[in-house]
């Protein structure tokens, strides 16, 4: 018996749970033990489910009776605090008085429960998903550094091997940035692939839901469970839903890997850029074809995402602006919500026009490539309290630097995954990002899984 079974990936846990070699209740107690010993350092859970043991016992009973629901049955899963839950309060990262959310399960939580997952608790997030620091959560690789955000708690609890999966949400990089900084896998599916119903909105046309996990396979198992059309999400797509696990262990000799030399390369920390060049060599040596290209429109992307995100967030929070509830928000989030009123209607629509150009330009690129490769983040985890970081030859704000390589995939709504690809000179994890065609998560998972299988990064975790 593994000393800490919860540190094993879903495929192994699931096999043992199904055969009765492992009980969900023991797995849960292992997760709770790790929370008790580690979370005082990480501060990454905001709430634990009082009924978690009841959920686990029910899973054990059903499995014993031959009613196995699938790979997530009996597996402990955490969810970000902006996913509404019937059995736990939701705060979306805010302590502000006068802000309340319904006690009901979001669509994803309902699907996870249907798949038999044990919902352990809620993870800390940057307030209203408007930031990439997630105070006071810490990075498990260095407790003096940020875990990233806004799904920082989810990144920390997966990196610390407390639960194999924690759900996140991603508006400009909020799944992939903490995944990169904490050394986990983070998958943002295509816009419309996974319902956002019951997730506190940040920016309606940019928000995505997805998992952070130990391995690419773990994210594929979760995606199988949570995907599908939902009439309660106006952005939800009616598309074919494949079995994403069929992309695992497949060859990549026919893969065409795109390298966008402008915007994505040339302005990253040197260790980050070196690790990504190493990943590119891996794909080349594995038989994939490398295709270099440029995408000049990316030079205008930052203004576009700011215009959409600011105006959307301010529209969502108009009630909180009118009631004065924003006074209770943290200063950085309050400032962003107040400044959204300065974005004009034409600016917003111009941003949506730019988005169309970007999507069409990318469609032309994807005629010749299957995935686009690059770093997830230009830098590794920065010290808590630092607001300016050195990237390349210049100082930049952490917000501007950290999401530069992730937000284009929110503007375009394309699927993107971050997976560990090494460490910098100080031992902090580096994230490799792959992006794919709309609704082609299969190719993305195939490419990511091939890289992961050929390296040992997934077996490395922080010593806390």
């Amino acid at each position: 018996m593994h000393e800490n079974p919860v540190m094993r990936p879903i495929a192994e846990l699931s096999a043992d749970l199904r055969l009765g070699k492992l009980a969900s209740i023991d797995l849960l107690e292992n997760a709770f033990d790790r929370i008790a010993s580690l979370d005082s350092k990480l501060q990454s859970f905001v709430c634990l489910a009082e009924d978690a043991r009841t959920q686990a016992a029910a899973a054990d009973r059903e499995i014993a009776e031959g009613r196995w629901r699938g790979p997530l049955h009996g597996v402990p899963v955490a969810v970000k605090d902006n996913y509404l839950t019937a059995d736990m309060p939701s705060r979306a990262g805010t302590d502000a008085p006068g802000v309340h959310f319904a006690r009901q399960d979001s669509a994803v939580v309902a699907k996870l429960r249907e798949a038999g997952a044990v919902i352990v608790g809620k993870t800390r997030m940057h307030e209203f998903a408007w930031g990439n620091v997630t105070p006071p959560s810490k990075n498990p690789w260095d407790l003096n550094r940020v875990p990233g955000g806004s799904s920082g708690g989810s990144g920390a609890v997966v990196a610390a091997r407390i639960v194999p999966v924690a759900m996140g949400s991603d508006t400009g990089g909020s799944i992939r940035i903490p995944a990169a900084l904490c050394g986990t896998v983070g998958l943002k599916p295509t816009f419309g692939r996974v319902s956002r119903a019951g997730i506190v909105p940040h920016s309606w046309s940019l928000d995505h839901a997805g998992p952070l996990s130990y391995t690419v396979a773990d994210s594929a198992y979760v995606l199988n469970a949570i995907t599908g059309h939902d009439p309660n999400d106006p952005g939800s797509a009616r598309t074919e839903v494949p079995d994403f696990t069929e992309a695992l262990g497949q060859p990549i000799t026919d893969l065409r890997v795109g390298i966008c030399r402008n915007h994505i390369f040339g302005n990253n920390q040197s260790d980050v850029e070196a690790a990504i060049e190493g990943a590119i060599r891996f794909y080349r040596d594995a038989g994939a074809r490398l295709v270099e290209f440029e995408l000049p429109i990316l030079a205008f992307g930052l203004g576009a995402i700011f215009a959409i995100e600011l105006s959307s967030s301010t529209a969502y929070h108009s009630r909180n602006l009118a009631s004065g509830a924003v006074i209770g928000f943290t200063n950085d989030v309050r400032t962003l919500i107040e400044m959204g009123r300065f974005v004009s209607g034409p600016d917003y629509l111009k941003a949506e026009q730019l988005r169309r150009v970007l999507i069409d330009d990318l469609a032309r690129v994807f005629a010749d490539v299957d995935v686009i490769i690059g770093p997830t983040c230009p830098l590794t985890a920065w010290p808590i309290g630092e607001w300016t970081v050195r990237v390349g030859a210049q100082d930049e704000s952490v917000l501007a630097a950290s999401w530069r390589l992730t937000y284009p995939w929110n503007l375009a709504g394309l699927p993107a995954i971050s997976l560990p690809c090494g460490f910098d000179g100080t031992g902090l994890p580096i994230g490799l990002q792959l992006a794919g065609r709309p609704f082609d998560e299969m190719t993305l998972i195939r490419a990511a899984d091939a890289y992961e299988r050929a390296h040992e990064w997934k077996d490395m975790y922080p010593q806390l």
């Binding site: 419309g192 046309s205 059309h229 009439p231 309660n232 999400d233 106006p234 952005g235 939800s236 797509a237 009616r238 030079a299 205008f300 930052l302 203004g303 576009a304 700011f306 215009a307 600011l310 400032t335 962003l336 107040e338 400044m339 009123r341 300065f342 974005v343 600016d347 629509l349 111009k350 941003a351 949506e352 026009q353 730019l354 988005r355 169309r356 150009v357 999507i359 704000s397 501007a400």
Partner: protein, 60 residues
């Protein structure tokens, strides 16, 4: 009074003097990025968000 401050006045945004200065200062670098966006000629491009007359639960 610069262009942004005039905009705040025109929009009737209610913020006390100190708060307004802080929010405007934070908005300056973002305004520069949005200004770049304004410089693009996208006259013939339809926005990515498309209106639909269907009820919300039938849109997709």
């Amino acid at each position: 009074m610069d262009e942004l401050e005039m905009l705040v006045e025109a929009l009737g945004v209610e913020l006390d003097k100190e708060r307004r200065a802080a929010v405007l200062a934070a908005f300056q670098p973002i305004a520069q990025e949005i200004a770049k966006l304004r410089s693009l000629d996208l006259t013939d491009v339809h926005p990515a968000v498309v209106f639909s007359p269907l009820p919300g639960n039938q849109q997709s």
